[in-house]
Symmetry: C6
Subunit: 268 residues, 6 copies
């Protein structure tokens, strides 16, 4: 009946893998050794879940600054697991849903996963899923409680489930008493050093060696520091914008500098 | 199938362009060099989106004081793009809508846009769309979350989307954790100097050279300063009111002075 | 088609003029030069709207202390405009309405107005319309947002609209971020001096010259000041109450003094 | 058509007069000169409303400590008016009503009153009608706004309306911005002095001259003061309780003393 | 028609007396002279209500620490009244009721009572009935207002009604502005002294004279004080638990000591 | 009819025992003498309830840190009771339920239990059942009140009921005024000492004697203390994770250390 179950979930499977692949269109650039460590850590959890006799449910929180690549990395690990059921849960597919409808959608995804012997669920942007707004703060308690419960619920006998959840707001999850429901956490870093930035620029192929150096030194001049601290997603977009300008490295430096400044002020 | 898609969205297209043109009935007066810079910046983003292979969604926040011309400039840039789908989303068309109906309207607009290879959506007055009131503060979290999600959602393959959103409340967007969802921002300035004001008066053709000078020097006398700091929209209305009076420059000076005073006190 | 439109709105027209006339049953007493200035100002705005080619929507906020005559003055100016569509929007006609029903009523009134080439809408007691209570504070955000939107919305081509809105709570409108949506404001004063009070008493014909002087000097004695600071509406009611008493000037002085005291304490 | 209107409201009339009489089962004891002043004041307002040509709506707030006799006095004045329509509005008849149903009931009462040439409405215990609770504070804004509107609404031509509203919470009405909607106020006092208390005891016929003196001096002994400060309703109940005891004056003194103590502590 | 009324309410009567008897399964132990005083006080109020011509409604608040015996004493007094209609209102019969359903249940009980010439209603645990939670605080304003109104409402002619309401939260009732709606209050005490405790232990028959003394002196040793301060209900349960242990007095002492400690800390 | 009742509840019985057994898949490791004390205490309460004539309802709160084994111990005691009706109430079976549906489910479980002569209900994770979130704080007052009422409600004659409720949040229960509704409490401890930790590691059979010592001393080195303070559940999961790594004791030490650090910081 393993095959029967597999059949049953097949159509879902295909659909979702495509969805997940769309999240990593920019590829996975190994701009730092940490990227490898993260993927390695992911494989460890996948093996733990795969092993018969171990705890049948394991949940991992990926947290990191905006655009640091959390979703792409979770997607990568989910696809690499090769598990017969993989599924992305995202607010993008729930625009206009009531709180109750969101909960039902969540619940359905878990019940679908329980039908497969091995499953991965990626819950993208938890703080968005619970409608978190820092003012108030406000959030959907209904969705939050459902999440808490599902993260702790034992699958039926013989079913094993791995959950990756992404969030920019580790502290929010802590406040919501949600963070400690996860079995483990993975921190996703920004592109932090000039060397890491150079790695990304090289990979893009949009800059000559000289332009690259000019851009990096201009950024240092404008921001007054060698620290970068920007998510890889913002950098990839900045490269694209710059490519429209006549002065590619100049515009890149300006866009990056204002991103760096914005990040800094949001911590002041 | 490009043409097929074009056909499909045609009827929407016509309707919305007219709507957008109604937002710039006062024209675009180049009272300062910044106006050109803004339009130039807009063209850059339009090219970025147009280019195959680049990020398929780009969102720009236009912010500035009340009446500074945000909506007119966004309308101008949208129309100039020449994209086959352009659409204005405005609270004006949603009076009496429930929060859910607003979300459905937003969602529908985006889904319509996804049918065209190239689209521009102008989201006018974001803080109004989310029912923002400074007391409390209160706002519609339902609409806010939908906006956040839609700004980050990848269009289907082969579709590209540019979003201009206007707001008087940059700081509000920051508080709502909405500002950092935008890829870039454009600041729209007030008419700030006497020279800029003179440019607008000249353009209106309502003042003789002498009356113009009298008006400007009277304003300085009343307000005790050469700074202006009023939105171009207020100025155009003030000109109209003044034209009803026997003493055109006198009334213009009084109306402008009280507008200047009001703006100043709202920052004290 | 001007006449066609006129026909269409006729039945509404008659009904509303009567409603507006009921608001000025006490007449308009010219107890101060300001009353004339206000009516003059009103005529100016009416002309501005009437003029083809000018901004097709203009909104004026009348604010002043309770009972100072805001509603009566707005009614007077609306009737004097001679516009084919004039209409009063008042909470009095919305007792027991839900927030949504109020918004629909508002919206309908504006849509009716858009059918006439020239229209005046009087929105009476804005703070009541939005269910404002100082405790909390609480108010209907739904109605407030609808008002904001409608005040800024362009009528269809060839239609022009003037709005007078009354309020005792200028500061409340400011807090609600509503005040700056108006194009202009008119301040309505209390009866402030003994001379102004005498003017009102004379006009009522209820006092002999001597009784009048006795009443005024008694008021000064009781309140310890020559300042009056009471709305014309309260004074007209006080005259009526006094007329029931044997000692007309004596009772008038007592009623007025307690009104003056109440006003003062509400500012302490 | 005066008689026609009279006919129409007749059935309501009888019912309500009975209801009002039930509120003054303990009679009106003239324990102080103020009681007469209050009734006199009431007659003045009744005459003012009765007089053709005067303001067609007048509202009076009766406020005073719990059990001081507000409802009984309002009932008395309403009945004595002899107006063809008199009606009591009380939360007692609205147990289990939703806010909207309360508003509809209120509105209906006013619309019924508008059918009679002369009407009195007694609105009993305003703070209860608006579900006021000091914690929070909480209250029904829906009912409050309806009340405000109805107190200011002009009856149809030729109809005149007098409103008596009772409340223990003058300060609450002020906070709710409701107090200043009334045209006048009447303060209802407690039984404050030993002489006033003796008057009430005499009237009850339950005490011999000696027992009366003993009771009063015992109260002074226990409370340590000659001040009384208790509502006439509480005193009438205390007399009844005491009559069950063997030691009538002794128990009366104890019950009264604890009432006095409770009142004092609630002001500390 | 006295008998007719009696017939009508008969079926309710039987059912409710049984319900009330279930509340005093532990009997009424006279561990202190106050118990008799309370029952005596109850009889006084019963007589007052029974007497024709007196106030037809009387409400008494029984308050005291948790488990002190409030419900049992109210049940006892209600049964002893011998009134033809006696009824218990308790949240236990309203699990899963909406606020409105609770109000309707309350209202129905009062309307049933109005059919009998003499009635007693026991409202058990008022703070539970209004869903009181100290955090916030939160409570059902709907139920609270209904209670306030019903406590003050006059029964129809010839009907008399006595209400006993129990609460652990006298101060909560005060905050809710509910306490002063009661005509009188009765304080129910804890078992406070060692002598009182001994009385209860004796009555249980579970302890030899020696074990009793050992238990009491051990409690004093553990808690470091001779004060007890525990409700009789807790003591009766503690006796039962202790009887399961081999060392009956030892376990009793431990259970009691922790109860005493818990009570003390909740006042620190 | 004992057997009849037994028959009636049979189908429920089987299902629930299985559910309860799933909660103790990791067995009950006697890592400390307290584990035995807890089970002994449980037996005492079971006997108390079983004894005819004693209080027919007894409720016990099991509280302790996350993952300390509360649910497993409650399940163990429930199963060991041998009572004919045993049932688990858990939020896991209520995902997507409205507050009212939760209350109905709770109520139904209690009514089912009342049909059996002897019943145990395990209410798992009370703070989750009432949707507790520390921010605000927010929780479902509806469910909370139902719980309070059901914990205090007498079963029908001849029925006896024991309730075990688990919670990580003793202080929350106190704040919610829920804690004192329980008749007794049982504290469930963490694995606190190195000796206790060694006991658990031994039991797992995953470590050689040497690896065990290396792991423990590494933990002490990293955390700088010999204290452990982690729930047995987290330790069992950490063992599993470590088993995937090449360096089993090394990874175990790292995972444990970060758990210890997290626990400590959540108390700082
Ligand atoms: N090392 C990397 N890790 C993750 N993503 C990478 C990496 N290198 C390149 N990328 C690309 O960068 C983008 C990362 O975007 P992604 O949406 O995953 O970030 P995010 O952290 O989830 O953002 P957000 O905070 O908005 O949710 C993707 O397009 C991805 O393909
Ligand atoms: N340089 C300019 N930029 C923008 N608008 C201009 C300019 N010159 C003239 N205008 C005219 O001024 C008006 C600007 O009004 P617009 O509604 O765009 O301002 P806004 O900033 O969106 O106001 P609000 O803060 O109320 O939303 C339009 O009528 C426009 O045609
Ligand atoms: N100069 C005046 N201006 C306005 N009203 C006047 C004047 N002279 C007499 N009146 C009369 O005084 C009354 C003013 O009442 P009105 O309801 O307009 O005051 P208001 O300021 O709107 O009161 P509120 O604050 O209660 O809304 C009307 O009856 C009006 O006819
Ligand atoms: N001088 C008096 N004024 C008013 N009531 C009196 C007087 N003398 C006796 N009574 C009796 O005292 C009682 C007053 O009760 P009433 O309900 O009117 O008080 P209240 O102030 O409305 O109380 P509450 O604050 O509870 O609403 C009535 O039974 C009334 O007949
Ligand atoms: N003197 C007494 N007074 C009251 N109850 C007594 C007395 N002696 C014995 N009892 C028994 O003690 C128990 C008292 O419990 P009861 O439920 O009445 O307390 P309570 O104060 O209402 O508790 P709670 O605060 O939980 O509502 C009953 O079983 C009752 O029969
Ligand atoms: N002595 C023990 N006590 C309890 N559980 C134990 C013990 N020894 C091993 N276990 C196992 O440890 C796990 C304890 O998990 P359980 O869910 O009961 O903890 P919990 O305290 O209820 O957690 P949570 O705080 O998440 O509700 C179970 O798998 C159980 O079989
Ligand atoms: Mg992401
Ligand atoms: Mg705009
Ligand atoms: Mg007015
Ligand atoms: Mg009253
Ligand atoms: Mg009780
Ligand atoms: Mg548990």
């Amino acid at each position: 009946d393993f095959l029967a179950a597999l059949d049953e979930v097949k159509p879902l499977f295909g659909a979702s893998e495509e969805e997940l692949e769309k999240r990593m269109l920019g590829g996975i650039i190994h701009f730092s050794g940490f990227i490898n460590d993260i993927l390695e850590e992911g494989r460890l959890y996948i093996n733990q879940v795969r092993k018969p006799g171990s705890t049948p449910i394991l949940s991992i929180a990926l947290h990191g600054p905006p655009g640091s690549g959390k979703t792409a990395l979770a997607a990568k690990m989910a696809i690499d697991s090769g598990f017969p059921f993989i599924k992305l849960v995202s607010s993008e597919d729930m625009v206009g849903f009531s709180e109750m409808q969101k909960v039902q959608q969540l619940d359905k995804t878990f019940r679908d996963a329980y039908k497969s012997p091995l499953s991965v669920i990626v819950i993208d942007s938890v703080e968005m899923l619970v409608d978190w707004v820092p003012i108030g703060p406000r959030f959907s308690n209904t969705v939050l409680v459902a999440l808490k419960v599902l993260l702790g619920k034992q699958p039926p006998k013989g079913r094993r489930l791995l959950i990756f959840a992404t969030t920019t707001e580790r502290s929010v999850l802590t406040q919501l008493d949600l963070f400690n429901r996860f079995d483990a956490e993975i921190a996703v870093p920004n592109v932090n050093t000039q060397k890491e930035l150079a790695h990304v620029l090289n990979h893009s192929g949009a800059f000559s060696e000289r332009d690259q150096q000019r851009a990096i030194s201009e950024i240092q001049e404008i921001t007054g520091s060698a620290e970068v601290g920007v998510g890889v997603k913002k950098i990839l977009t900045a490269i694209e914008t710059a490519k429209q300008d006549q002065d590619v490295p100049g515009r890149f430096a300006r866009v990056m500098s204002s991103a760096i400044a914005a990040n800094r002020s949001s911590f002041a």
